[in-house]
Amino acid sequence: MTDTAQNAKTPVAVLKNRPKGQRTFIGDALRRLLRNPLAIVGLAIVIIMIVMALFAPQIAPYSPIQTNLKLYVKPPSPDHILGTDDVGRDVFSRIIYGAQISLEVSILSMVLGIALGVPLGMVSGFYGGRIDTFIMRLTDVFLAFPLLLLAIALVAAIGPSQNSAFIALGIAIWPYFARLARGQALALKNHDFVVAARSIGARDARILAAHMLPNMLTPIIIYATLQIAAVILNESALAFLGLGAQPPTPSWGGMLASTRSFLTSAPWLPTYPGIAIFLASLGFNLLGDGLRDALDVKQR
């Protein structure tokens, strides 16, 4: 297997030759992740997307919002590799900048969903009783709406914008994180380390934050990665319906909506932004699946 194993003559030698800290949980997980070709593809897509978002001004050849009516709907060419749209903007540059919107909204809504859902879920599972019943009935109400429908309703109430999109999506996903954290808290609260912490007089807040939370991070991270894929799709759906970032902000869903009427004359216009949405979602799905296989101890 490894060089160490080949050089070693006896099991004792193997143990002695083992470099310090070679086998850690994170190290093992990382190795398993990197052995999974699909996960690497996912990781690569995610990294490309993050680079696109961070360095959009350096990568994009043109301004994403500067219009030029002389370039009305031009097919892909060496100058404009993905063509130009109905007000002469470079589609490639807009897609690069679109990664910013997509990532910003998905990550912020994920953070909001976690910030609302995890504490509520932990409290629910930890204390049980009436608090538990109340919080769980509350999640029932939110879960009675399909996620996108709830987000649509919330955006309609706050008024469409990029910020309302992330707030609406964050509010729509908190119950999922609450359910997850509750289950984790229920499983953890009778473990010895929690009982021990309590016996030395740790307060509830400290037990929840310092002892239980670190132990439920793995499932939360896996779930969040998989959910980002879904949130990217929902964010673009909101933008497509005109309920996300407003024009001329280059959101992928918005680009799709505004060029939909060109499906006979310039089919590439509504095609490229969709490919970007698809790839972004695919990347997070593959990475999330890979993370789950690599980190989930129970599955091994």
Binding site: D140, P146, I152, P267
Partner: protein, 306 residues
């Protein structure tokens, strides 16, 4: 069974109540109230005040809430700001169109997803299995509305096989329902595959084999029956995707269902219509989940839920 059904039905009531409450307060957050929209933003102050009184908008919010619930019980969700028709009539005309799309998409996804899942589990690592696994990954990441547009470009604009958009239980329904079915097909194929693979590794399957049963009998009579249980659950979960997917597909294909109505009610700020739309869709979705839960007990008699 009867006891469980009753308890599940009773649990449904607070959820519905929560949905109504949510929809009521959401509409109170919306910019501008009913009277402003009816009179118009430039209407006179006296007209506005008169309408305020008439619509009971000056009553305390709790009084308004109670009367909202009262109207709801009587099946009155108000009238559209735009057309003046009762919103429930408008929704009654749109709901069947959305249901048609969802039913056809479900038929497609069951007809394709289940066999694909079974074949790929039985012929693991075969061509069909690999294709299915690719479909599964793609299906979870494809934006439904983009898929709809691509189907329009390929099959309507370029090949002229099918109409670009429009309504009807004929060639018109094919593209929208395919666009809608892909994600659910992928999900069903994935669940069928993994749950059948799990079952095929169970002891009772080895027993069935060892007593000389033919492969077909083992798979169909033993493994598949048990494998369908998780599949049913997943189908219940995918109802949400099916419903919201339908809303988007309707916009793409100009299908006159709930989705188009929803978008229209937001853009024209027809709040009673929006509110009723939310309530009806949430009730439909929660009701469908309830039915799936109850079916679950029928399919698996082991489940007593006590």
């Amino acid at each position: 069974m009867a006891k469980y059904t009753l308890r599940r039905l009773l649990q449904f009531i607070p959820t519905l109540f929560g949905v109504y409450t949510f929809a009521f307060f959401l509409m109170r957050v919306l910019p501008g109230d009913a009277a402003t929209y009816l009179v118009g933003f430039h209407g006179s102050a006296s007209a506005l005040a008169a309408l305020h009184a008439k619509l009971h908008l000056d009553d305390p919010i709790l009084v308004q809430y109670v009367s909202f619930l009262g109207n709801l019980v009587r099946g009155d969700l108000g009238n559209s700001y735009i057309t003046g028709d009762p919103v429930l009539d408008i929704i009654g005309r749109a709901l069947p169109a959305t249901a048609q799309l969802m039913v056809v998409a479900t038929i497609i996804s069951v007809a394709l997803g289940l066999p694909l899942g079974v074949i790929s589990a039985l012929r693991k690592d075969s061509l069909v299995d690999n294709l299915t696994r690719i479909l599964v990954v793609l299906g979870a990441s494809l934006p439904t509305f983009w898929l709809g547009i691509q189907l329009q470009i390929v099959f309507a604009v370029n090949l002229h096989w099918l109409p670009v958009s429009g309504v009807g239980l004929d060639a018109h329904i094919i593209l929208p329902s395919i666009a809608l079915a892909v994600a659910t097909t992928a999900l069903l194929a994935r669940m069928t595959r993994s749950s059948l693979l799990d079952e095929l590794n169970q002891d009772y399957i080895r027993t069935a084999h060892s007593k000389g049963l033919r492969e077909r009998a083992v798979v169909w009579r033993h493994a598949l029956r048990n494998a369908f249980l998780p599949v049913l659950t997943v189908w219940g979960l995918s109802l949400a995707d099916l419903l919201t997917g339908a809303l988007l597909v309707e916009v793409i294909f100009s299908w006159p269902g709930m989705g188009r109505l929803l978008v229209q009610s937001i853009t024209t700020r027809d709040y009673p219509l929006l509110q009723a739309n939310l309530i009806i869709l949430a009730m439909t979705y929660a009701g469908a989940n309830l039915i799936v839960d109850l079916l679950y007990t029928l399919v698996d008699p082991r489940i007593r839920y006590d």
